[in-house]
């Protein structure tokens, strides 16, 4: 048959075929060689999907493993306005589920954009309702949302995280680098329907979740502290209140309560003033609680002994053309009674005998005027001026807790140092950091900062401070069956208008420890601007007593009841 074609036609046919193959070959070279890189990228775009995955933020638990903060995947809703047929209908359907006005939703859905967030980090139940609705042009993606299941409990210590999961306050902020999960980009293969066929980097696994924190805080002690503090602040109609409970032997913070509280699950409507951790940011003039520190310094330096007699000057004494008053005329009293009765004159005289240089040295040694370096953000250093800047009355004033700014944390740390036999410990709130598999990455050992006073001096001061509860201004801090040591404080606040001490605004406080012979708890209660009976012994000491009794019971610390039982046996 081919032989029947004339030779000329055969050549033409061959030429046509060669041309055809040539075109195909040229096209192949163009696609496979010349445009290979560009087309390969285009194909990858269609077949592959790159997603950013982030490991879940680490959890936070108390010292017994009770959950305090955890991330849960929750739905966020977005709209694709270009793909919507009727924004009005869609908005009306979404409105009751998202709890948003349909006008607002419609406005968002009418935007000339291909993507718009409608609501982020909703409750899981809302997500399930949206799934059932299955609306065109409305999509749902899962995002991690931080939950604080205990509500306002420990809120000032935990802090909170922002919309994008970053820690903004408290432990959440301080330990951001540990809590944050690993971010990883992953390439997925997609089929024609957009379904994921096979993740290319599947062998690499999911991104690593963030580390988990174990706090030194005890949820029950924290609850007791917050409940009693809220109650005291409410009854005294005070501006605010703070309470800290420390283990004096280790510096571990067992509770840190601030009143009023806030809910970290809903912080957007609150002012920063509400979430400030006053226990470590706000400095105040401590008033008479400072006398415990001054007494420790004076006894350590052998300026006085507990039985040294001090003259109370009939209730008033002139120093640098100003008059220092006592609330009662004491006459001749022992130094122990000076502290127990909270004599300003006795404290001023002892402070002046100690001298400004030694007093200043002990203030710094007890940790005032510097941060305690607790592992929480925003800590203030307080205010201890250099003796060069002190006035003629400064030694007397500082000895009774004026002209000095301290934070509640500094004060309780100083009192805890006396409880701990004279060794100042560094306070801390995070005891362990664990990875996602539960392996311990870091443990915080108790850290002694320095020895401030000798054990003998600490014992002497403890006996004096026990007298504050048995015979002095702090009787309401007593706990039945336990020896309590502590000191009351009632400090006048500076009136910002006049620049002088206010006659109506006070800070009432009590700092102490229990049991005095083997301290398990060091606590401070600070009530800001209580109304009515504003004495520290009347407002703050009862909180110490109520919390102390319940916490000792909770911890199973034995009381002195065996004495009662033994006496009963003898009678029978």
């Amino acid at each position: 048959m081919p032989n029947s074609l004339p030779r000329g036609r055969r050549y033409v046919l061959l030429l046509l075929l060669l041309c055809g193959f040539g075109v195909v070959l040229f096209r192949l070279v163009t696609l496979q060689v010349l445009q290979a890189a560009e087309l390969s990228v285009k194909a990858d775009r269609q077949h592959q999907k790159t997603v950013s995955l982030e490991g879940a933020r680490g959890t936070i638990v108390d010292r017994h493993g009770k959950l305090l903060a955890k991330n849960v995947e929750v739905p966020s809703v977005f709209g694709v306005p270009n793909a919507l047929h009727s924004p009005l209908t869609t908005a009306r359907q979404l409105s009751p589920i998202l709890h948003m006005k349909s006008d607002e939703l419609e406005r968002k859905l009418r935007q000339d954009r291909s993507f718009v967030w409608l609501a982020r980090k909703l409750d899981p139940d809302q997500g399930r309702q949206l799934d059932r609705l299955s609306l065109d042009g409305i999509g749902v993606v899962m995002e991690g949302r931080r939950f604080y299941p205990k509500g306002s409990l420990l809120a000032h210590v935990l802090g909170f995280s922002g919309m994008d999961g970053e820690g903004l306050e408290g432990v959440e902020h301080r330990y951001e680098s540990y809590l944050r999960g690993e971010k990883r980009m992953m390439v997925l293969q997609r089929d024609a329907l957009g379904r994921t066929v096979f993740p290319r980097g599947m062998t690499e696994g999911s991104p690593t979740p963030g580390h988990s924190l174990t706090l030194t805080i005890d949820e029950v002690i924290q609850y007791l502290a917050e409940r009693e503090l809220d109650d005291a602040v409410g009854r005294a109609q005070a501006k605010s209140g703070t309470m800290i409970v420390l283990d004096p032997k280790t510096g571990a913070v067992l509770a840190m309560a601030v009143s009023p509280r806030f809910d970290p699950n809903a912080v957007s409507a609150l002012s920063p003033d509400r979430w400030r951790n006053r226990a470590l940011t706000d400095a105040y003039e401590p008033g008479s609680t400072m006398k415990a520190v001054m007494a420790a310094a004076a006894i350590e330096e052998r300026v006085v002994r507990p039985n040294t007699m001090v003259f109370g000057e009939h209730g008033h004494m002139t120093v640098a053309n100003t008059v220092i008053h006592d609330h009662e005329r004491l006459g001749w009293v022992s130094f122990a009674q000076v502290i127990q009765k909270s004599s300003n004159i006795g404290a001023a005289k002892t402070g002046m005998a100690l001298g400004e240089q030694r007093l200043h040295r002990y203030l710094l040694a007890f940790g005032f005027g510097q941060r305690t370096e607790i592992d929480l953000p925003g800590e203030g250093a307080g205010l201890v001026r250099n003796p060069r800047d002190w006035g003629r009355r400064s030694v007397a004033s500082i000895s009774m807790g004026q002209e000095i700014g301290v934070t509640p944390l500094q004060m309780v740390s100083a009192v805890a140092a006396i409880a701990n036999g004279g060794v100042l410990m560094k306070p801390y709130v995070v005891s362990e950091i664990r990875d996602a598999d539960g392996h311990i990455l870091r443990q915080t050992p108790p850290q002694a900062r320095r020895r401030v006073i000798s054990p003998d001096t600490a014992r002497s001061v403890t006996r004096i401070l026990e007298g504050v509860i048995t015979d002095g201004t702090g009787t309401k801090a007593a706990i039945r069956g336990f020896r309590v040591a502590g000191k009351t404080g009632t400090a006048q606040k500076i009136d910002p208008r006049t620049g002088t001490y206010s006659a109506s605004r006070f800070v009432a406080s009590f700092a102490g420890y229990v049991p005095a012979d083997n301290p398990q708890l060091a606590m401070i209660v600070v009530i800001d601007e209580p109304q009515g009976d504003a004495w520290g012994g009347a407002v703050a000491a009862p909180v110490f007593s109520r919390v102390g009794e319940q916490v000792l019971s909770y911890l199973g610390v034995p009381s002195y009841e065996p004495v009662t039982l033994a006496m009963a046996l003898r009678k029978s």
Binding site: Y223, G556, P558
Partner: protein, 110 residues
């Protein structure tokens, strides 16, 4: 021989195609299982948060006092007794070893 070679070739092609198809099928299966796992993990996390919220001390205290009519113990009503007392007793008193007794009502104390 030629037939056998063709048959072998077809078998190889079939195995290759079957392997590719099965890989895709397993890929879908893995993805579905991963989605199921994610849902279950999400439910687990939600439940953990719920358990934590329900076991909060303030909630339990509120339920105990408001619904069950319980009261907080007053001062002195809770006594913790040392099991091995370190207290030095007077000579005429015989110490007795006691087990820990918590929440011992004031009305029944010795």
């Amino acid at each position: 021989m030629k037939t056998f070679t063709v048959f072998l070739g077809l078998c190889l092609v079939f195995v290759f195609v079957w392997e590719r198809v099965d890989m895709v099928r397993i890929g879908y299966q893995i993805e579905r299982l991963k989605r199921d796992k994610a849902v279950l993990e999400r439910q687990r996390d939600e439940l953990r948060v719920k358990v934590s919220a329900l076991s909060a001390s303030d909630r339990i205290a509120k339920l105990a006092t408001e619904k069950l009519g319980m009261n907080l113990p007053q001062q002195g009503q809770v006594i913790i007794v040392q099991s091995r007392p370190s207290y030095v007793y007077p000579s005429n008193v015989v110490p007795v070893e006691l087990k820990i007794a918590k929440n011992y009502p004031a009305s029944r104390r010795l």
